[in-house]
């Protein structure tokens, strides 16, 4: 049994190698956090973390990510004989090819199984790790882990093992072994682009899509408990890949040549170098030359080295293989960009850049860890190290040259990515290449981090002095660094590399985020320099490899210039570090996660007692707001008129300042005087004891001054509301009355840990105290509103109301807005450089009415969909004012704001629209639903459902506001486009509903009692409202809504006035019932009061 001998030899050889155990330990460690890593940011809902489905997916993903380990284990098996030049010794022995290959394959495959059993072991151990909550798990079952391991992981390991073994044996090239793991990953990504679900499920080597398809129809409980059935699609998937593995092995067996010289190689060497001829007349004198050891020559050396190492990587096919894989993947992935409601956006450069950044990460990491190892080992691999080491070159210059060479490689990869991005844009007929955005997106956002991690990788390679160990340490470090941030340790001063740069916005560029970002990066770069300096004096030079001895020898190797450089770097590091600390922790407040949680807990424990304290209502707001966008400051003076609408006398008014360090409430005064109580100052919460108590029905004026002052920079992103171009905030930033629920701890698990009772999202529908409020907080039942806003000369400032006056003094623009009717206490204040598109709309039915001004304030390049939005405003106003009630204001302003947030929202007469949606959608009227049109219609519907009629802040509130707006917008869509487009839209809603239902951790509520479940009030709301309309007719539904608005109008609805409470779904459904024929009454119950599953 010759093969058995070879098998045993292979096994014992591997078992003596430390890397076998290091790989194993690495997988165990990683798998312990495997579920958390793979499902990071995904709410598993009621599905437990050790449900077979989750385990199977995690195992598939981990196997996929670390396929590269399989390549390192399997690929080197045969290759090793060639590496150590013992192939001639091996092959002259009377071994049969079959025995040799079989023994080697089975030997390394056994080792591979051992290493990957680390995934199994790690996940089992992970279950009992302290960071896991028992609630998230079923009782432990070994089978739950064993079965997915056998079904999902083993087959693909077999395929991977076969493929890597064969390529390693046939290519006899170590670089191929490195690269094939990456290529495999790319092929996996390629399968994602296949649109045929079934084919995709078959072709996914890691069975992720397969399992998704297989469990598509499972209910939430099934997802949690069912074990993965090994039949159907999954069986075919596995059979396919195992068959492919066998085929690969067979091909490899046939192609493998059992001899020393590869035939192809031999052919290549057809022209071996001939012995050179003596050139007779050469000058035998060695010419004069000088040796230089000064700074200038060091500089020349540095440049020379950088280029030398750069070229040496460029010559490696593996690099180009990775680069081309990266480009291919990008072209596949970029197919749909910035997709909103199923409509793609224009391939604007920043979308492309974000897509590139996301997908290229994997490739950059691969290049970084491998080539940093390669470069550090370059001389030793070629056995040139003794010659190098005996030259008078400075170790630092050499290392720095390698470093710069690798940076150049990154630059080449980046430029290839940019080129592929431009190709993609061009092929989509988009020619507005924003090279600056490309440049910034890569050289500002990606490159500095790569540069920093590379310094660290060099350092690790030098310290460990073991290539593979070094690679693993770097990977582990990267994972830990991310984990640290997730655990709430996120200060730029100790998280390696600092935080990432905020999103690029067409409106605001990188805004004020850029400067601190660069400062933090410089700080880390100095740190990295120190690592490089240390590495240069402890790197192996000569024959000594022992780390301790190298450390001891380091002080002799530290030359004066190195010492000086180190000292300067270290001092700069300290200075810059202190400067950052001064900005983030002294000028501004730095809140750790735990500090934030403790604060919220203390807030609730101390102040909850005031939650139901009778407070007056705000009935009028008069503001004077000076915005200074360039310095990101504002100064506000305001007057609230407060009215006691309760039956009791109010003695104390409680003022809550916005809890944010930059905001200062400089003065608060009350008509008639009041005494400030400062005992809750920690919470910025101030009870004012009125000198003259406020009698029931009486009003009082409150004056305040509030400032927003930007001081230095803050830790992490900082405020995205106050920016250079696109300032956007609302009334919640100004003082509010009484206890504020938004400062409570939200997460149920955290609440439990701090012994706080569970927090209900919405009050019950019959809770009388909640019925009198339309919003949480409920500081008002409607206000009169007036504001004077000023801003920089190049910006326009917008707020609700009629523009009374507009003027310019002292290089500042002033705007005076006044609302002539009562409106809800919800207003936004905006300032940016805008272009304006204007139009008017006149009611066709009500000849007496005044024309309504329609205005769109947009960023000058975002002109794509303005006409669609304008058309939608007119269509909506036509439909709603005829079907429901007249429009209550004299204008509608849509304005664009930076894409830090992605939503559209409705305020009285004003609709802020994020840059990210609507404005840049690339709508194809043939295939897409016109979402710019639809979203505008939806937001305009809120001028009725939300502004005219408000809903009580109880269960079902969001059905009244959102489901009705969805309905209204669909009707406008139907009228202007077609029934077919509405059906297409509803398809999307169905998907959204199912997706939401899948993630639901609690019970799905009925529409009438919906709380914060978006998939119910948006998606199912649209579907069911449409169904209602189909059943009882559009006319009837509109009739019901007309009476509903009429009766419950916030300012003059007769039922609203009579009951002194806000409407609920119970009221709404009453109107529906009234217009529904008797025999169809059940529909109302089925659609809105029951949780019925949808029929497809």
């Amino acid at each position: 049994m010759m093969w058995y001998e070879i098998f045993k030899f292979e096994l014992s050889y591997r078992l003596k190698r430390p890397d076998t155990y290091i790989f194993f330990a690495f997988l165990v460690l990683f798998s312990m956090v495997g579920v958390d890593f793979v499902f990071q940011g995904i709410d598993l809902g009621a599905v437990k973390k050790n449900s077979p489905l989750v385990i199977a997916k995690t195992m598939g993903a981990i196997t996929g990510i670390f396929m590269i380990l399989a390549s390192m284990i399997m690929g080197v098996s045969v290759l090793r004989d060639f590496e150590y030049n013992i192939e001639s010794l091996m092959f002259v022995n009377p071994i049969k090819k079959r025995d040799y290959l079989l023994g080697r394959f089975l030997g390394s495959f056994t080792v591979l199984l051992f290493v990957f059993s680390g995934v199994f072991l790690g996940m089992v151990l992970g279950e009992s790790m302290p960071w896991h909550e028992a609630d998230d798990f079923h009782p432990f079952s070994l089978l739950a882990y064993l079965k997915p391991f056998v079904i999902v992981t083993l087959p693909i390991l077999f395929f991977g093992a076969s493929l890597f073994f064969v390529t390693g044996a046939l290519s006899r090239n170590l670089v191929v072994v490195y690269t094939q793991g990456v290529v495999f990953f790319v092929i996996f990504m390629l399968t994602k682009a296949i649109t045929n679900e079934w084919l995709q499920a078959i072709l996914d080597p890691f069975s992720l899509t397969t399992i998704t398809l297989l469990s598509e129809s499972w209910t939430i409980t099934e997802r949690s408990i069912l074990s993965i059935p090994f039949n159907g699609i999954l069986l075919y998937n596995k059979l396919f890949w195992m068959a492919l593995g066998l085929l690969t092995l067979y091909i490899g067996y046939c192609k493998f040549e059992f001899n020393v010289i590869k035939t192809t190689r031999f052919k290549k060497k057809k022209n071996p170098v001939l012995e050179s001829q003596t050139v007779a007349d050469y000058p035998s004198e060695i010419p004069e030359f000088k040796l230089h050891y000064d700074i200038k020559s060091k500089w020349t050396q540095l440049i020379h080295f950088s280029w030398f190492y750069f070229v040496s990587i460029c010559k490696q096919p593996s690099f180009w293989a990775i680069a081309i894989c990266g480009m291919v993947i990008i072209l596949i992935n970029s197919v749909s960009l910035g997709t909103v409601y199923g409509v793609d956006s224009y391939p604007a450069t920043y979308f492309i850049v974000e897509e590139l950044q996301e997908t290229s990460g994997y490739f950059f990491v691969i290049i970084l860890v491998f080539y940093s190892g390669e470069l550090i080992w370059k001389e030793r691999t070629a056995q040139l190290n003794l010659i190098y080491d005996a030259t008078p070159m400075s170790g630092f210059i050499n290392l720095a040259g390698k470093y710069l060479g690798l940076l150049l490689i990154y630059a080449v990869l980046i430029i290839s990515l940019i080129i592929s991005g431009i190709i993609f844009q061009t092929s989509n007929g988009y020619y507005n290449y924003d090279l600056q955005v490309y440049f910034y997106g890569f050289f500002l956002e990606i490159f500095p981090l790569l540069a920093l991690v590379t310094l660290f990788a060099f350092f690790v390679q030098v310290i460990t002095n073991q290539k593979f160990v070094g690679i693993l340490v770097v990977l582990l470090f990267l994972i830990l660094n991310i984990a640290f941030v997730l655990f709430g340790f996120n200060h730029d001063l100790y998280i390696f590399g600092g935080s990432s740069l905020a999103k690029y916005s067409d409106m605001n560029g990188y805004g004020h985020f850029l400067k601190p970002y660069l400062i933090v990066k410089s700080y880390w770069f100095l740190f990295g320099m120190i690592l490089l300096l240390i590495a240069s004096v402890i790197s192996v030079r000569g024959t000594e490899t022992n780390l301790i001895k190298r450390l001891k020898a380091a002080k002799h190797r530290m030359s004066k210039p190195i010492m000086k450089l180190g000292l300067i770097t270290f001092t700069s590091l300290l200075i810059l570090g202190s400067y950052i600390f001064y900005n983030t922790n002294i000028l501004n407040e730095y809140w750790t996660n735990s500090k934030q949680i403790t604060f919220r807990v203390a807030y609730e424990n101390t102040l909850k007692q005031f939650e139901n304290l009778p407070q007056p209502k705000i009935v009028a707001v008069n503001l004077n707001l000076a915005l200074y966008p360039t310095s990101r400051d504002y100064f506000a003076e305001g007057v609230y008129t407060l009215k006691n609408t309760t039956d009791t006398v109010i003695e104390e008014i409680h003022i809550q300042k916005l809890i944010e360090g930059n905001v200062a409430l400089e003065s608060v005064t009350f008509e008639g005087g009041a005494l400030r109580d400062t005992q809750y100052a920690t919470f910025d919460y101030y009870p004012y004891k009125l000198t003259q108590p406020l009698q029931s029905g009486d009003s009082i004026q409150m004056n305040f001054k509030q400032t927003y002052t930007t001081k230095g920079f803050e830790q992490g992103g900082s405020n995205t509301n106050m920016v250079y171009n696109g300032t956007f905030f609302n009334n919640n930033d100004f003082p509010t009355l009484g206890y504020n629920r938004k400062y409570e701890l939200q997460d149920d698990r955290d609440r439990n840990a701090y012994k706080l009772p569970p927090r209900s999202n919405k009050a019950r529908r019959d809770d009388p105290s909640a019925l009198v409020n339309a919003q949480s907080g409920g500081d008002s039942d409607g206000i009169r509103f007036e504001i004077v806003m000023s801003t920089d000369k190049n910006q326009l400032a917008i707020a609700p109301g009629n523009l009374v006056k507009k003027w310019t003094t002292n290089n500042r623009n002033y705007f005076h807005y006044k609302m002539d009717v009562e409106m809800i206490n919800f207003y936004s204040m905006v300032s940016a450089q805008y272009e304006v598109k204007k139009d008017t709309w006149v009611s066709t039915t009500d000849a007496a009415s005044k024309p309504i001004d329609l205005e769109i304030y947009y960023h000058k390049e975002h002109t794509y969909n303005l006409d669609r939005m304008m058309k939608s405003m007119k269509a909506s106003l036509d439909y709603y004012s005829t079907q429901f009630s007249p429009y209550q204001y004299q204008q509608i302003r849509i304005f664009e704001f930076p894409r830090y947030a992605e939503f559209a929202q409705s305020f009285p007469g004003t609709v802020p629209f994020s840059e990210a949606i609507g404005f840049v959608l690339d709508i194809d009227d043939e295939t897409d639903v016109d979402m710019a049109f639809y979203v505008t219609a939806h937001e305009l519907a809120h001028q009725w459902f939300g502004m005219q009629v408000e809903a009580a802040n109880v269960q079902g509130r969001l059905m009244v506001l959102e489901s009705l707006s969805q309905y209204a917008a669909m009707m406008v869509l139907k009228q202007h486009y077609s029934e077919a487009k509405v059906q297409q839209f509803l398809e999307l809603q169905k998907e959204r509903y199912l997706e939401g239902k899948r993630r639901e951790s609690g019970k799905e509520p009925s529409l009438a009692l919906v709380e914060n479940q978006k998939y119910v009030y948006y998606a199912k709301g649209a579907i069911n409202m449409y169904e209602l309309q189909k059943q009882i007719g559009e006319k009837n539904v509109n009739l019901a809504l007309k009476s509903f608005i009429n009766d419950w109008n916030t300012t003059n609805g007769k039922l609203k006035m009579a009951t002194d409470r806000y409407a609920t779904t119970e009221d709404l459904l009453g109107y529906f019932r009234r217009v529904t024929p008797d025999h169809q009454q059940d529909i109302i119950t089925d659609l809105f009061e029951k949780v019925t599953s949808l029929e497809f």
Partner: protein, 297 residues
Amino acid sequence: MELIIDNLSKTYSNGVKALQDISLEIPKGMFGLLGPNGAGKSTLMRTIATLQEADKGSITLGDINVLKQKNELRQVLGYLPQQFGLYPKISAEVLLNHFAVLKGITNKSERKELVKALLHKTNLYTVRKQNLGGYSGGMKQRFGIAQALLNNPKLLIVDEPTAGLDPVERNRFYNLLSELGENTVVILSTHIVEDVKELCTNMAVINQGKVLLKGNPLQIIAALEGKVYQKTIEKQALETYKQNYQVISEKLYLGKPIIHILSNTNPSDGFIPVKADLEDVYFSQIFGSTMNLKSIS
């Protein structure tokens, strides 16, 4: 300028005593370091070439303290290690240019001329554009010497340069070495006696980390003159001869052993006197001679 090694000792962590109190004075010119494989030659060479630390002792070259002022020594050092590889996909010209930069020849035009001259000198000029991967062993060694000569070294260390070279290649290589000026200290380590005989003005024999013998090859040979005898014998008789005579070498000639013995008087018994050879000196030292030849030097 002279290289002085004083009481140099080195013991590896596995207990092998690689160098034991080595003391040598090496003047300008070719110095041969002779010894069998594993004698400690490479350890000594690497220590002189600043690539390894010694446990005790000192090495000085002129006023450079080699063990402390490593970088100063490297500036005047040329080193060709016993085993080395070359980047296979780079041409000789490019790699030599790279080494020239490494060594501090940062003036571009000077460097260009120098590289050209050295390629001529090592007879690699016509193949300078070829990738090093295709070079033969001899070409590789000549490239190695070209790189060692780049900085016009005052101390040149060549560790077993002819191992694995065919006779033609070896000759080429020696021609190259012998051309080196008289201003350089050249240390050539080898286990091939011929090498030393042909090239060196001074030599030392070391074995098991100790210097067994040092001096001028001719004088050393002279000391053995008239004491070496040779005889062709039968294989079976070898052991008997070893017991009765001081056998210093044995080699096969047409399948039969020829032995050399050391004797102050003519042993007759079929032995014929032969002219003493450096090889005899070497073998007499390595294989336990009772005669103390150290006195000769």
